[in-house]
């Protein structure tokens, strides 16, 4: 009897003690690859921090982030939740066939912001239409995988009505072309047009939308057969994986598609720096392999094809975009020798001045609907 009591007491002390002691013994991690975020550092001790409670909060976060086997604890929790039939884990949905989905609820939609964003785009396009050919203006809102791959979403999972959002935005846009890619994506829902573990679309999805853009803007549709499709990795676990941390999550493949007929190389200048091309091979060694396309988001990216002689494409395209454009824009390099990409989250200059300065003739605005309903930078379109 006494012995079993001793075992019980010892087990309690061992469990608490091991985790307590192991934490300080193991070296702190600065960044969590799996969660794709910086982990908390040891808080600074001062009387002010102590009295305001900042130190206490910092220490709590620090101990949580730096606990030994942090990733394993979380995957353990996810496994238990999945076992209980829960599909709402870590702020994302776990669907079927290995697909995870962004969880954006009806109450997450800021109707007012959406309305304002729509009006900014409409106003901007109206302004452009006065100066340039309206057929050269286009606006594409990309649905998220939750809408297109609805059959793989957990049954009845709560999601904002993006169908209605896209439709209502489309109805408000008067100038230029509103490109609705929902039906073409739906028609190919069985192909890998979205990543399983990341919220972005794959080049397959982007290519379908590109063909749609070609048709709408009068460019020649070449068809998939004139492209060389190369798988660059099959080890990608994206942003949704980072939220759920599911131990048996699938790995995604990333492709790139290049015209079979080789073209002269492009120079890519991102925020004033030559990054040596569109595809960033070294990013495939990191966790967030979507960065393969351009290496991330920048305020301004200039893509130029040095054709040597007089350009076959004298038009200059301006793309105003979020990260969904990163795997879409590579296709456009075939149609334009000069493309300027602006990301309003990071670019603060006047858009109209920029267009003047760079003799912009064509415009494409490309956003994912979940970014479009929440982005607070779209007002910059109409600023000075």
């Amino acid at each position: 009897m006494k012995a079993t009591k001793l075992i019980m007491a010892a087990a309690f002390l061992a469990v608490i003690g091991t985790v307590s002691i192991a934490g300080p013994l193991v070296k702190d991690r600065e960044f969590s690859e799996n969660e794709n975020r910086y982990l908390a550092e040891k808080p600074k001790f001062s009387a002010d921090n102590l009295l305001s409670g900042k130190y206490q909060e910092g220490l709590e976060n620090y101990l949580n982030d730096q606990i030994v086997f942090r990733d394993q604890w979380i995957t353990g929790k996810t496994a238990i939740q999945k076992l209980c039939g829960d599909t709402d884990i870590g702020g994302a949905y776990v669907g079927s066939e290995g697909y995870d989905f962004e969880k954006i609820l009806p109450e997450d939609v800021d109707e007012e912001l959406l309305q304002r964003n729509t009006e900014y785009v409409a106003e901007f396009l109206d302004g452009c239409a006065k100066k340039m050919d309206a057929s050269r203006l286009s606006f594409m809102l990309v649905p998220t995988s939750g809408l297109i791959l609805e059959d793989r979403l957990p049954a009845h999972a709560r999601l904002f009505d993006q169908d209605a959002c896209i439709t209502s935005v489309g109805e408000t846009i008067k100038s230029g072309q509103f490109l609705d890619v929902r039906s073409v994506l739906r028609a190919h829902a069985q192909e890998e047009i979205y990543y399983h573990t990341d919220h972005h679309w794959t080049v397959n999805g982007a290519f379908l939308a590109y063909e749609e853009w070609c048709r709408a803007t009068g460019h020649t549709v070449l068809g998939e057969e004139s492209y060389q499709k190369t798988e660059v990795t099959d080890q990608f676990r994206g942003s949704l994986y980072s939220k759920i941390l599911d131990y048996d999550s699938v790995y995604d493949r990333i492709w790139k598609m290049e015209p079979k007929e080789p073209l002269p190389a492009v120079t890519v200048i991102a925020d004033g720096k030559d990054i040596g091309g569109i595809y960033q091979q070294e990013k495939l060694l990191e966790k967030d392999k979507y960065l393969y396309f351009f290496g991330g988001n920048y305020g301004e990216v200039q893509i130029c094809r040095e054709t040597g002689s007089a350009s076959a494409h004298p038009e200059n395209l301006l793309v105003i975009k979020d990260s969904f454009a990163n795997s879409f824009v590579p296709f456009l390099t075939e149609n334009y020798d000069h493309i300027d990409m602006l990301d309003l989250r990071y670019y603060n200059g006047s858009i109209s001045a920029y267009m003047e300065e760079h003799s912009i003739t064509d415009v494409l605005i490309l956003y994912n609907i979940s970014n479009f309903i929440s982005d607070k930078n779209i007002y910059k379109l109409c600023q000075g």
């Binding site: 079993t4 469990v15 985790v19 101990l63 604890w73 039939g85 599909t87 999972a157 709560r158």
Partner: protein
């Protein structure tokens, strides 16, 4: 500091355990006292001074009351007691109810007095009730005054029950304050109890709590979802609160204290009266002992009993928070108890038929679930909206959201249901000796369960951002 935090589990607890058991018995109260002050000051670095003031104030008053009583000056003893109660209630009233009072006066008279925005010191309602139990009992001669200031201070600030109860009356642990033994048996039982409490809070309450917050924050809900949300909160508050009490009782036992039980499977009750004998027992016994019975209880006729019950339940409601929904919630139970005591007990003969028992369970739980909605929604407008939804007014009966919530939480709800029942009477033979009886085999089973619960609790703590402290209004 709360028990379900990393700082507590992996820094505070190991340190206090090591120092406490390394020190000779004489130094153990000072160790507990210092650690308890750190525990409280961690969350309330300034308000810890109020607690220290209360400690000195009540210690002095206790000594004075005993001094006067010994010399037969009962008038003076009474005066000191009145001063003590005014002091304690004054502090509690000032910090907890001033802004509520100003708001109420403003809304009635239209005056525009500005609020003071006083932050409520954590746990103030718990420790003022504890210290008042001390001075009242000294006055009544139930316990002698504590002469040793360190021992008394240890009682007031003892961290296991400091911020979320149970309300440990002084007389319960008066003897253990100075002469307690720590045994291996108590340590192991306490460790097990603590682990069970942690698991109830972190695994069960937090998980189902996120369902309640999803439903209560959602813009449109159906009647079925509203009921599901209310059930979710019903489970959340029980497993959260009783989990805290388990952790408190377990920690106390590790250090050699034996607190009284605070929850005895309240959701198995067959009447509201029985529910309140099983729910937050330390609070209802405090009100019975120090308010209801002194007011005359049921000994002065039924009219007076009704008044007494209403007073007690108005106060019980207000104790839970300075807001009208708590007043409503208290009076709701006051009325139900009056009905049960004065009418139902005469109408319904106490017959133990199956039908009566089934009816009793359903009637009690429906009222309890409804009661928790009054408790959870502190905004009266939202409360009205939510109640309307529960009764299907202006909302669909059910919707696909309800099906989704159910699919994600169905199994969890089943687990919660089973865990809120006392299944021990059903166990027989070997199963009984391996689990509930005090045998070597049951110790091994419990050890394995304890380690499992701790590990799973840690996993849920690391992986989940939803870990609320529900008692900040108390």
């Amino acid at each position: 500091m709360v028990f379900s935090s990393f700082v507590f589990l992996f820094v505070f607890l190991p340190l206090v355990l090591v120092l406490y058991f390394l020190c000779p018995p004489k130094l153990r109260n000072p160790v507990l006292l210092v650690f308890s002050l750190v525990f409280y000051a961690w969350g309330e670095p300034v308000y810890v001074l109020i607690m220290l003031f209360s400690t000195v104030f009540d210690y002095t008053n206790g000594r004075l009351i005993a001094h006067f009583a010994k010399r037969g000056k009962s008038g003076w003893a009474k005066l000191v007691l009145v001063i003590d109660l005014c002091g304690n209630l004054g502090i509690l009233g000032f910090f907890k109810y001033t802004d509520f009072l100003i708001e109420t006066v403003n809304s009635i008279t239209g005056a525009g007095m500005s609020l003071l925005y006083i932050a409520l010191p954590i746990g103030i309602s718990f420790y003022t009730f504890q210290t008042m139990s001390y001075t009242i009992d000294v006055y009544r001669g139930v316990v002698p005054a504590q002469k040793n200031f360190l021992d008394f201070a240890t009682y007031v600030v003892l961290f296991p029950q400091l911020i979320a109860g149970p309300i440990v009356q002084y007389k319960t642990i008066a003897d253990e304050l100075s002469g307690r033994r720590t045994t291996l048996e108590d340590f192991s039982k306490g460790a097990f109890r603590f682990s069970v409490g942690l698991a109830k809070k972190v695994i069960l309450a937090n998980q189902i709590g996120s369902l309640w917050s999803a439903i209560s924050e959602s813009a449109q809900i159906s009647a079925a979802s509203a009921w599901l949300g209310a059930v979710a909160y019903t489970f959340q508050i029980y497993f959260d609160f009783s989990g805290y009490s388990d952790m408190a009782i377990g920690l106390g036992q590790i250090f050699g204290f034996h607190f009284l039980e605070n929850f005895r499977y309240p959701y198995m009750s067959k009447s509201i009266t029985e529910f309140w004998r099983r729910w937050h027992i330390s609070l209802s016994s405090w009100f019975r002992e120090y308010v209801y019975i002194p007011l005359g209880g049921n000994r002065k006729g039924w009219r007076r009993q009704i008044v007494n019950l209403l007073i007690v339940w108005l106060l019980t409601g207000l104790w839970h928070g300075a807001s009208w929904n708590f007043v409503l919630w208290g009076l709701y139970y006051g009325l139900l108890l009056i009905l049960e005591k004065l009418i139902f007990s005469h109408v319904f003969q106490r017959r133990e038929t199956l039908a009566a028992s089934v009816f009793g369970h359903i009637y009690t739980m429906l009222l309890v679930i409804l009661g928790w909605v009054l408790f959870a929604q502190t905004d009266m407008g939202k409360l009205a909206e939510y109640l309307k939804a529960m009764f299907g007014i202006g909302v669909p009966l059910w919707d696909s959201d309800f099906l989704y919530y159910l699919s994600c939480n169905g199994l969890l709800l089943a687990v919660l249901f089973v865990c809120s029942l006392d299944l021990r009477p059903l166990l027989k033979g070997r199963l009984k000796s391996w689990t509930v009886e005090d045998t070597a085999a049951s110790d091994i089973v419990k050890t394995i369960a304890m380690v499992g619960l701790l590990l799973v609790s840690f996993a849920f703590l690391v992986g989940d951002s939803y870990n609320p402290f529900l008692y900040f209004r108390f």
